[in-house]
Subunit: 227 residues, 2 copies
Amino acid sequence: MPTQTKQFSYWHPHPAVTTDIVIFTIREEKLQLLLIRRRNPPFQGGWALPGGFLNMDEDLADCAKRELEEETGIKNVYLEQLYTFGKHDRDPRERVISVAYYALIPSDRLTLQPASDATDAGWFAYDELPDLAFDHREIAEQAHERLVAKLDYSTIAFQFLPKQFTLSELQDVYETIRSEPMDKRNFRKWIVARNLIEATGNERRNGSHRPAQLFRTKRPGRVEIIR
Amino acid sequence: MPTQTKQFSYWHPHPAVTTDIVIFTIREEKLQLLLIRRRNPPFQGGWALPGGFLNMDEDLADCAKRELEEETGIKNVYLEQLYTFGKHDRDPRERVISVAYYALIPSDRLTLQPASDATDAGWFAYDELPDLAFDHREIAEQAHERLVAKLDYSTIAFQFLPKQFTLSELQDVYETIRSEPMDKRNFRKWIVARNLIEATGNERRNGSHRPAQLFRTKRPGRVEIIR
DNA sequence: CCAAAAGTGTTGTTTATACACCCATGT
DNA sequence: ACATGGGTGTATAAACAACACTTTTGG
């Protein structure tokens, strides 16, 4: 291997391109994100965002989807490009441009398939993150900022919930991500006025209290700009 | 040259990385953007966004700034990362990832220094763009979308104006970009309530009519999120 | 005195906020 | 019967939208 010639040659220098993914979910009443332990230097043994190198025949978003599936076994979740991080010294090995994405995992799809390469992975509360490799903390913070902002003006919150959900569960999503309580009556008036959800007719009986109506989004799968 | 060996070799294939820049200004009552004519294939002779390859020792934003200065001679204007375009077939020559930026040029800094390489360049009204090379139309449209959105919730509009400006000029920026008229009294109430500008004490006498007060932004240079 | 752009208030409507009690259920 | 979370209305304040005339200047 070391004596073999490098096969890929160019007239001008090229940087490496990776995608890194900030994978959010809500677990145990907290906003959490998925980290994997690095098996190789640099930052060997440290925590990092899942991600990897772009293949030459795949679109950027497909690369992010592939990495997401490889690390978690999860497909078909909301995935959005966040920002591209390209400081010249962000990776000590070579010049690496990272196109960051973020993904939202509904709370009923949390059973992660351990990654094929047996790397260990874990969920971490967003406000108790360990040290992260590279500039991954900056990436995570920027993703969080975007998420908080999008709660206000888009239907992104539904992506954390199963197809059917109660209004209290929906309110919990908002409160958890914003870390602040909201008034129940005002929240319900607000969401109903947006005309985004409808009652399914079903109800959920949970504990020793009145059952809750179940709702669904009128346009499932789509994240729309509201307001 | 063709018989010389390619100097830059890697164990894995690497894409090329470019930055492309959507340069907006307001000229002749219209939102316009700067295009350059391509001297080489593909799309030789066609119009394209200014941009170019990333150097290995420069940050992404510095690459965009450099290209901006090379094409227009303009420095120190508002520049923001837009999105990264990475479809695998977006460039017929090789795999190219384009990190797109957009820049806003104040109306008093429009005298372009012809680019050092004598490429011809020109301003085009946004709603009368010619055919563009690669996926550059998509990039331009996405930049326009972002610009329209940011008018509402940031102080980006000031970036189109000189340090001192009248309220009518400011309103014109909003109207031109949105392509719709606004009520003068409501606009003035709104902008004053935001507490972003202050009168300079100077006034401008223009034609045969009442002179207008000149204002400045309280925090020049900074684009802030408002609302 | 005329043309042209600058400047200025009021009213009605919509949207946001604050706030407390009854309801249906399981144990 | 009680504990638990589900569900509901009203009053006040703030933001937004519609709308027309007077002022100052140059020619």
